[in-house]
Symmetry: D2
Subunit: 352 residues, 4 copies
């Protein structure tokens, strides 16, 4: 892992966002424009979008009157011209696979990649789940998995942070304390997750058309979703023993993960709560709610991940519910939290 | 107008739907499959869609187990092969402009066109509002405007019925009795209408993406919407004196039209109610609700158009609210109602 | 079980609905008013509501113009006066516990109870899950569990039918063929179910307030929901080994149940599909969708229960998704289906 | 008007919220907890709620981990004990009518009342629209109407600020520049407004039950809504000539007002845009969008009021659309903006 020393800039860091017109990119822009410790100095459309600079406010009217920033088509020259200390890539993994190595080589900027391109350790596992070879395997060892509750020091020192998936953050916040402590068995864990539509991105798709999704709910990606190996790796589960079923909810934002966890020993509710508190009480953005199960509305429009649980004695099982806003703690908020750690800023700076 | 004599088929009429995969087309197929008096004998994709026959149930899983019908790409041969007595065109007006004349000439089938292609009397007015010349002006005089509450006899005798627009049905149900009777003044009428998203059709559009429309509401088509001249013509208003503002609601189905109508004389609530009752009490699908203003939920999933009103004495004004389900009374339901009149079936046959 | 011979009335059966102003009651009234084989001859508010007869259309404006029926406060005299052959109780279980025995004794009507009062065989189990003693245990043996896909003959002969719970119908449609055949193991089955808000009834509750539920999702009743023993009993699962977690969705109607089923032997997808087809292909209202997982929108506003599944080989597990409209196949529709069987009418009469 | 001199407190002002458990109260608490210039030192339930102090986070789980504040039942002693410099009343007008005079007399705190109790100048007009006598008419002359875009200096000096209604802010932002300049005629103005459900408050009501409002839309309060005289007074319209029709939308937050304004002279779009820019370009929270009509989603979760318009030449009419978040610019956000002016803080401090 690269031990990166922070640039000694006498002032605010200059940051940029590639892929700013997607939902995560827009949320990043919103957070960074209001951030007290950094300057949003460049926003770029990813290579896939139309040419020509256009005001951000034209792409997203909610920015009207808030910024004069122009979305610039992505090019190395444009990125260099912005003189950025840190760059967020809010891009599909195909774009990140191409641009992270390029930016690593051709700039000195630190990188926070919101895609799945650098989250797995193993190029072969990447190929299996993403259906394409990993074209920059040498950077997999450089990337730090950007889960701030677990890896704050490596994140602070990293040049390249792989920001976790939205489902992965929800599931792992629920699973890790139980598995790492030995309270849970590694075989037979099930995560039934429900997500709002912004998690699927801004590209038009028939199943995300309002008339189709309103009043609907469906499972998708059963046994094939790409967050499965990411969750398994971080939670310490054999991937073939772990069942992950995402569902699409008729809401814009939010993930609620219901996890069914076989318990390994006689631990009761008090012991489980202690495990969660030990893991998270010192961390600003995870709230341990005990037996009060959290709901989407407790966390949407915040950077919190809430976790609660019940122990079912008859079947020696914990039912753990975690939830978060997929655009904040599940994407842009967590990315800013990682940036704060990387730049030595207060962990919660600029976060709601 | 063509005085059409009904085919003496010894049995159920055979009907078909062109453009069956759009929202109005699917709703038509659903109604016709359950209709006691006709046989749905052919469903066609419009020329714009992919080639090859595919089961309807594959295009719309709600039909699974209900029908073996296959969607066939539109061609004259395919239509002729189905031996149809009556054909619905649930197609964009561009497609109807091309196919209505062709079917008129090349088949003997009666036609119900759900597009705006044949709703206006005047080819020049069509050109002004639709931005293209009318390529079959000779059929404008043949087409009967398919408003069953007003033109039941001409519809029964028509070969070509122009099914009204969804907004137009809502607005005209509210306006016509007041204007035809002289109770309202023709100048200064305003219709502020709110519609669900299915009215905009099934084509993917960014503003109809779930994340964009959920929790949203917006005006659109201000002073330019194509239903404006249709409403004005039927209500007897000079189009330049009539203000129509449609809005998009975050619901799948339904139109609610709030009309502001200057009163011409001293008529009070009782007189207005009498006018509405005279117009509609003998008609099965308009419910006069008096001073109890109707709501979307009173009419969605039904073929009713409900109308209620208040008289504001201080400003000598009626505020009239009408609502309907844009896919039923606003499109497919009204089309079936017209078909029932054309085939001599009970007006409500097959309608919820 | 009572072997009930059908009343030899020379004409349509007269039916009534107690508890007509709740969501299931309104849906029953809607279905029965359009039913070709019965006459809706009496609708009653349950004892808990205000006194005085009021038009049904006043309680629910969607009925305006469709019926002159008046909601009558529930009393034995009022029920007797309506001369009913069959009575639906769309009432809370407390009301059913009181009124089913009374109607059993004091009238000759056949009864379809939509509450949970008579679904369990065992009075002690009722007490444990419903938190109150069963006050009519002698009728538990008389009641036939109204699952028409499984018990059509007993239902046809029954005087008292206990209409299944909405979650129970969804879960058992998914579970029964796998468990009855021995393809699934009885231990470790999990059902993660998601329901629309109408399942919670029409009583005002803060968590069902629009502002609270819109954009929300939450688990509730974890390990305590009253449908748990009903599912376990019908599926043949030991209740302590069965995990059931209901969730509330921001939709009005619909249940989607995701079931995680450990497989007992080497059965693959083809064998499972064969089991489902054997169970349901002859039944009109269950659609086996194979590996195409059903979605809420495939079934809402219909009486279908759709079921699809995937086999996950690595963990020898079936992931089965079933869904239905909780007010139709989950309540009123299934009740009408049961009535049809009881009255010797076509099973699908009057159902959409 | 009272010329109030600011308390010379050496440090942050202490502020409190009465009625903190309603939607506006919760939003106020959220804003004030994150405000850089004040301390939220007391939160009170209004007299109508249950007794006993309870943590705010228990009343609203979204506050979990963010504050230890306890909701205290409202009493003069409790308010005095909190030593508040400024108090918000997020209470029904009946409660404000009772408590504003009491706090005026018995404390030295400055007051921002979010109810309609002190928005009208005239006690008789209050009686007519609110259906009860005004019990503190002597304070009507003391109250400053808290519209910061128009009355910044009087607000800064006021002891009592009457925070405008949500509809009134939307409508008046659209109407005032046109009427004050003489560009619009005072007779015949119509405002057709659409509001999310949180505007109706947190009290349970059947029409705000999720199942009732989801997929619904309705007009209400036609010609009787209490914001009517408030709009007329501020816009300079004779109340009997002004038509205001509010509608309920199936969204949680947001108001969109569509105003139909007869133009008095030959002013075109450029002149109108200049009038709006003159009125608002120096103000931080109104965005003049010109001919690009704003949508709800441009402003929800912000304190902006956006305004756009079209000129319809044929009828010499402006169609003006304004929108805002009813809980922010329409209530709590505007109240904080007023507080900022009163305390000499930057106008946008603590606002998103």
């Amino acid at each position: 892992m690269n031990n990166y020393s922070q640039p000694g800039a006498p002032g605010r860091a200059r940051v940029g966002v590639i892929g700013v017109t997607g939902y995560a990119g827009l949320e990043l822009a919103r957070l960074l424009l209001g951030h007290p410790g950094v300057t949003l100095a460049g926003v770029f459309t990813s290579g896939r979008e139309g040419a020509g600079a256009r005001p951000l406010a034209e792409r997203a009217p909610a920015f009207a009157g808030r910024t004069d920033l122009e979305c610039v088509p992505l090019s190395l020259d444009a990125v260099r011209a912005a003189a950025l200390d840190l760059i967020f890539l809010a891009t599909p993994h195909e774009v990140s696979l191409e641009w992270v190595p390029r930016l690593w080589r051709e700039t000195a900027a630190r990188l926070v990649d919101l895609s799945g391109a650098f989250r797995l350790r193993d190029a072969e596992e990447f190929r299996r789940w993403y259906g394409q070879p990993h074209t920059a395997p040498e950077l997999l060892a450089e990337a730090v998995y950007g889960w701030p509750e677990r890896y704050p020091a490596p994140i602070a020192a990293a040049r390249l942070v792989a920001n976790p998936g939205c489902y992965a953050t929800a599931a792992n916040t629920a699973l890790w304390p139980l598995l790492a402590s030995g309270a849970a068995r590694a075989a037979g864990v099930i995560c039934d997750a429900k997500s709002g539509a912004s998690g699927a991105g801004r590209s038009l798709r028939e199943d995300l058309h309002f008339v189709e999704l309103e009043s609907n709910c469906k499972a998708y990606g059963v046994a094939t979703h790409r967050h499965t190996p990411e969750i398994a790796a971080q939670a310490g589960l054999p991937v073939e023993e772990f069942t992950f079923t995402p569902h699409l909810l008729p809401v814009a934002r939010g993930i609620l993960a219901t996890c069914y966890v076989p318990l390994a020993n006689g631990a009761g509710a008090a012991e489980l709560e202690a495990l969660y508190r030990r893991a998270y009480d010192a961390r600003p953005f995870v709230r341990v709610r005990g037996e009060r199960l959290p709901e989407l509305r407790d966390v949407t429009h915040t950077n919190f991940c809430d976790v609660g649980f019940r122990v079912r004695e008859a079947s020696r099982q914990a039912i753990v519910v975690s939830c978060l806003d997929n655009l904040l703690k599940g994407a842009a908020g967590q990315a800013v939290q990682n940036m704060n750690l990387m730049l030595g800023l207060p962990e919660g700076a600029g976060l709601p």
